[in-house]
Amino acid sequence: MKSTASFFSKIAYLKAKIKGDEIFRLVSAFFALTTLLIVVLMVYELTRGSWLSLQKFGLGFITGTTWDPVFTLNFGALPLILGTLTTSAIALAISVPISIGIGLLLSEYISKRLEFFVSFIVELLAAIPSVVYGLWGIFILIPFLRNNVYPLIQTVLGFLPLFSGPIYGGGVLTAGIVLSIMIIPIISSVSREVFSAVPLSQREAIISLGATKWETCKIVMSYAKSGVIGAITLGLGRAIGETMAVTMLIGNKFKVLPSSLFDAWYTMAAIIANEFTEATSDIYVSALINVGLTLFLISLMVNVIARLIVWRTLRLVKGVSRG
């Protein structure tokens, strides 16, 4: 019956010349598909730009450990990938406890009115451009770390290879620290969202057993576990792609492994920013675009996984609470 009704109404539509509606719908669908088009085009164009490099190095590009734009023109991205992952790992290690704490605070401890202001302030951290983080990092953070913090760390933990070696102020740890600040907003806001979505009935269950506020929070976190993982993955995705602040602080030295956390190193994003405009030969440019392609694919993977986790959690949580 539905099909007959829609058939007649379709005729009625045409008769009444509401073609405008169909056109509009098609137009807006077309625009909406632009994003899909962009992503597809991006993969294509990045691959095209990497073609020279892919031809010469193939998949060995990802495992290669030399970067020689002058003599042998051999390029390999492994240290860059390692550098990206290391700085991101440091960023997560610092940022995750802080961000989850803020998320809990916003969701469980602060009144609705106060939440408006507090979340605004946390969001300000996200509004500061990467270059400004870099600027502040160079002139304020680096001297502070170099003079006050790192020597202290080295005295205490210097026996570990991670913390031995010369301190110049910038380097892997510094980049990781600034990255951690930059990803606090996204991890904390998504955490807050998943915590808030935990059903009231769960909270009331544990409260009625005689739980303290913190014990209630533990239940909330336990319930929203996968959502928090999604939030962390989103933060990872953000950290992986961070460019300017990192390139201004990490030292931009291509080496297989740094000598310590205080040593200079490189990331995928940083090398592109630092060397792209200076790249002379075609193979050099192609290698850098290849790095971009690698970064793109890794970032895509992380973000897709993250979004899937968060989407799934929110739908699951809301479904349970509704049912």
């Binding site: 609705k112 059903p199 009935s201 009331e204 269950a205 005689g210 739980a211 239940i219 576990k225 349970v320």
Partner: protein, 261 residues
């Protein structure tokens, strides 16, 4: 019944004095005064919105967990005002268990952990002790034989009726003195409901039970005392037999004969 002999000697578990409660500016309980007998089953009935759920939530200080909630008056529990200045609701709530309308076991925990969570909170570490209390609680609610081989399954993997019994076991594990039940069977099928009503009667030997229900027949079946609430006021309160067979208040009679709500 031999219960009647004991009843005369039992004291009052709760003495509610001039209890008023609000949600924001809306007053939901008006000057409630009643005394609840120990180890009896007291039913609270009345049409929707009459404040019966709020009333029991005031007894274990759950009402105040809602923003903009306000309470005045006294609720003496074992002679001590639960709203006293030095009283921590955390301690009150351990002694007063609550069962909710919709079963709310923790889905991210196993059946075992669901029952044991209260013990874990209170620092009971000895695994054998926890095992035995978990088994005892599950036996009390008649779940043990059904789940004893599946204790590791998620708390949410059970049927509705089983989930509710699990919640009761969870509440019992911490050895409360009172069980507050907010329409415990309204979300369940008739068979599960009957099982729970039976369970309630068994539990009344050792616990004071207050049950909110919109099902008059259930109240008549299960309870020793019944309180009738209407628009936030206590209209009538007395032995169930008397309330149902010989209500003193016109409103009560009207409600019982299906006059409204």
């Amino acid at each position: 019944m031999n219960r009647q002999k004991l009843e005369a000697e039992l004291s009052y578990k709760f003495e509610i004095e001039n209890l008023n409660a609000w949600f924001g500016s809306k007053q939901v309980l008006k000057n409630i005064n009643m005394k609840i007998k120990e180890k009896a089953i007291t039913a609270i009935i009345g049409p929707s919105g009459c404040g019966k759920t709020t009333l029991i939530r005031c007894l274990n200080r759950m009402h105040e967990t809602v923003p903009d909630a306000k309470v005045t008056g006294r609720v003496l529990f074992n002679g001590v005002d639960v709203y006293g200045r030095d009283i921590d609701p955390v301690q009150i709530r351990r002694k007063i268990g609550m069962i909710f309308q919709k079963p709310n076991p923790f889905p991210m925990m196993s059946i075992y952990d669901n029952v044991a969570i209260g013990l874990k909170l209170n620092g009971v570490k000895d695994k054998r002790k926890v095992d035995s209390i978990v088994e005892k609680s599950l036996r009390m609610v008649g779940l043990w034989d059904e789940v004893k081989d599946e204790l590791n399954k998620s708390g949410a993997s059970l049927s509705g009726g089983q989930q509710q019994r699990l919640c009761i076991a969870r509440a019992l594990a911490v050895e409360p003195e009172v069980l507050l039940m907010d329409e415990p069977t309204s979300a369940l099928d008739p068979i599960s409901s009957a099982k729970i009503e039976l369970l309630i009667r068994e539990l009344a030997e050792d616990y004071t039970i207050i049950i909110v229900t919109h099902n008059m027949q259930q109240a008549a079946r299960v309870s020793d005392y019944t309180a009738f609430l209407y628009l936030g006021e206590l209209i009538e309160y007395g032995p169930t037999r008397q309330i149902f067979e010989n209500p003193k208040n016109e409103l009560t009679e009207k409600y019982l004969t299906g006059g409204f709500g």
